[in-house]
Subunit: 513 residues, 2 copies
């Protein structure tokens, strides 16, 4: 049995059954080994950022790690930006990165680079397999690292000789999934006291705390105490819509963030990090909590957020769980705006939909209106690295083939990893992509104004405008095998969205806003 | 004066006049500063791999560094694969990578990452600016590092407060370009003795040795001694065609490489590295030189290759310089094949053309036929990291607006950084892209066979085939503002290529092979 077959056997034995793959020559034995036993579906991608973003989407929806298969240092490098997002999403993932044969590294062939150094900044765990005999244990360790709460990026570097050399056949190692640790009782008591104290308390949620079960518990706390609930700006997955406890997302603009926390005496963090400025701005603070506000971090990542919420809900005597009622608006009519798209989306979103939100400057206009929509999940750009939307949608669709995925996509961000459209077509992924075509980096133009650049010069204008020429998203999508249509008013948009939701398979709507 | 203006002033004072830019919020002061004085042209890109690849192309054609402007760790990460190629091309480049304000890093905002760690594997020099007062000296040091022979990637990390804080106005530091060091005379004498010794000698050339002047000197050596000249497989830039000394590229397939060196008693390296396998293969050697062959490395990178060649040419008494005569074939007719494209290209290539060759499996069919074409330059994929072609063509076109750029582009590789087409349209870059659409990763299917996988399984087939659905390159290009046409036979191809060469501005030809 060759090393690559042991690798695949260990993955299969531990339920890793999807691999988002962009292999090269040094990974061909590994690739071929995925055909040596049934059980793993390799999804080809045309760029590594698609592979890592898709593995993130798969993990967010299944809780399980997917594998990626990447080609040496440069292939890994192309996947790093979305690994950054996945690291911030705290999802499990197993990157298999090929490298030169151990005996070939010293000649410094053209594709030689320091793969481990490249992997480290975006990985929780990195190891280079020394030889084929080590591959069983090293693969098991990678899986264990990925599954260790809250979930991590494990990068296994696979020199090609460890892949093709023979090794003794072994029974695949089965990895037990470690459970999250119990929350600290002292911290819980402090938070409960704050919640009962009558002052303004903000509860920031992420991870398990924004799932249906987490929000139900958080809702009990809020109902009993009047605490304000927020999902983290870059929450991994928010379960929402009718029947769920509604939660606002903490706002991205720093002034809105400061306002949201004004008067808060306590902030309770449950699976979430402290609210901070997305960027530093001249004359503005980094930490957004007001002076004297106490932070209660009762469930840092890796700690059982549901247990913490349950303990707090019981402690504050929260019984009722106020859930959202179904509240569908009419379809929007008239001019096509991000607000109008949000309204029609809320009206039409099917039950069980997965919304992938990389709408950036158009995002606030869609999240709010969908509060009373049919039950759905909402995935965000966790680490702020743009180019996650289309890959994330691909991975979510592979993970949940019976659910509709709706990707709300800014045009500038979409261009980063547009190759995902081809994989969506190849896999017949059930994804509707709505491109908000404002033909500029809207968020940058907004930030320029925010920083006082009210009359940008030639270079600043050139680099924040993505028109001239305008992108033709319908043409681009069609060129990669994805059908689509363009909407310039809401009548067209509604017709296209209704048709896209009715059919199966990928479809792209270019919404000119 | 704010730090960002000092940065730009120092760049302008040292002749850095192009910046391939993909800024985000943390780079907005730097971006705006490019408008604070005339002299720098910012070229917007929609993906960072386009920016770094374009800066490489610019440097290959001008010998000067361009700047890039990249957004934090993930933005840099997206540019790393083409920085890998640029590092192997040994070109000068100055990456300006924004980072959070120094006082904002400790709060671990979503986009925080270890920028210096990410930069290190692909940079010759990395420094984070500590404050605005340091920016003048740090920028000068970055320029000096980039210009130090043979040329290097300098990465200057710019925390946003160092960019927006005030600093004392200073006269911009002017950096002297260091000269390459003289070759070692002992090594030269050994090589001269080998060249005169009557045994088989192979001379491997790269860097300055494959420019017109270098090849003229190498030609004298070959004429006097019978030595065999090769350009390195991944040569940075080969000046060729009528009036130049012709040189073959050392072959990529390992068996052809071994055959090319069979019987060689000596290998003389001039600006080139020793011939090694592009990958390690089971049962095949890493070093390709035959047993007992002596390696004479007379001009390692940073050493004056032209001086070494001149010394050797004089030492071996080489006088004649056999140059290539103009030898234009007829236009190819009939079926569209890579060979036929090579033939028609040789017939039509205009004087002064710059050929960017990322044709991968179709590359050997184009380089040979163009040997007798009108004088031109040939740029290759130096580091083996695919996705360089379209960005490199963009950069070469910005560098040389009066020369036609022809990008020979494999379809699989082209998909990595296809966003470059939009920048070509925006800048009206004079680039003709010829996509060799074989609708597969041809090189991988060839390597699979080479490794003995004659009947690949479902996953291996899925991940080496990029058809199903077929990419429509003309549609994709059109969607980014680049006109194009599809050719399925040589009559169509010839007509499209003639028209594309006649007009100015970007055009894409999809050649179905």
């Amino acid at each position: 049995m060759i090393g690559a077959e042991i690798l695949v056997g260990t993955l299969v034995a531990n339920g890793v059954d999807a691999c988002f793959a962009n292999p090269g020559t040094s990974e061909l034995h590994a690739l071929a080994a995925f055909d040596s036993r049934p059980g793993v579906r390799c999804v080809p991608t045309l760029f590594e950022g698609v592979a890592t973003g898709a593995a993130d989407g798969y993990a967010r929806m299944t809780g399980k790690p997917a594998a990626t298969l990447l080609h040496l240092g440069p292939g890994l490098a192309n996947g790093l930006a979305n690994l950054h997002n996945a690291k911030r999403a705290r999802v499990p993932m197993i990157n298999i990165v090929g490298d030169h044969a151990t005996w070939h590294r010293h000649v410094d062939a053209p594709l030689t680079s320091d793969v481990a150094a490249l992997a480290a900044p975006m990985s929780a765990w990195v190891r280079a397999v020394p030889d084929a005999a080590s591959i069983a244990a090293d693969t098991a360790d990678a899986i264990r690292a990925a599954l260790t709460p809250p979930g991590g990026i494990a990068t296994l570097i696979l020199p090609s000789d460890s892949s093709w050399d023979d090794a003794p056949a072994v029974e695949p190692i089965r990895v037990d999934t470690p459970a999250p640790a119990a929350p600290d009782e002292g911290a819980l008591r402090g938070a409960a006291e704050a919640l009962r104290g009558g002052q303004r308390v903000v509860v920031m949620l992420n991870g398990a705390a924004t799932t249906e079960a987490g929000l139900a518990l958080a809702g009990r706390i809020a109902a009993a105490t009047g605490a304000k609930l927020y999902a983290h700006t870059g929450a991994t997955r928010i379960t929402r819509g009718a029947g769920r406890v509604p939660v606002e997302r903490f706002p991205y603009p720093i002034d809105l963030g400061l306002a949201a926390l004004a008067g808060a005496a306590h902030i309770v963090l449950i699976g979430a990090t402290e609210p901070v400025g997305f960027f530093g701005y001249p004359g503005k603070p980094s930490r957004l909590a007001p002076e004297g506000c106490r932070i209660h971090n009762v469930a840092p990542p890796g700690i059982d957020a549901l247990a913490a919420l349950g303990w707090l809900a019981d402690a504050v005597g929260g019984n009722g769980t106020p859930v959202q009622t179904l509240d569908l608006p009419e379809l929007a009519t008239g001019a096509l705006t991000a607000d109008a798209v949000g309204q029609s989306l809320a009206a039409l979103l099917p039950e069980g939909a997965i919304v992938v939100d990389e709408a950036i400057s158009s995002s606030p206009m869609t999240y709010g209106p969908c509060t009373g929509a049919r039950p759905h999940d909402w995935l965000t750009i966790t680490g702020g690295s743009i180019g996650i939307g289309m890959p994330l949608a691909l991975g979510a669709a592979i993970a949940c083939p019976d659910r509709k995925v709706v990707n709300l996509q800014a045009d500038g961000s979409g261009m980063y990893t547009l190759q995902a459209l081809w994989s969506q077509a190849r896999e017949r992924a059930d994804v509707v992509t709505v491109v908000f075509a404002n033909r500029r980096y809207g968020i940058l133009q907004w930030e320029l104004g925010n920083l006082g650049f009210t009359e940008p010069g030639r270079n600043a204008r050139a680099c924040t405008d993505i028109g001239n020429p305008d992108l033709d998203w319908v043409g681009i999508a069609h060129g990669m095998g994805v059908e689509g249509g363009r909407a310039t008013d809401m009548a067209e948009f509604n017709r296209l969205l209704e048709a896209a939701l009715r059919q199966r398979g990928p479809f792209l709507i270019e919404a000119i806003i």
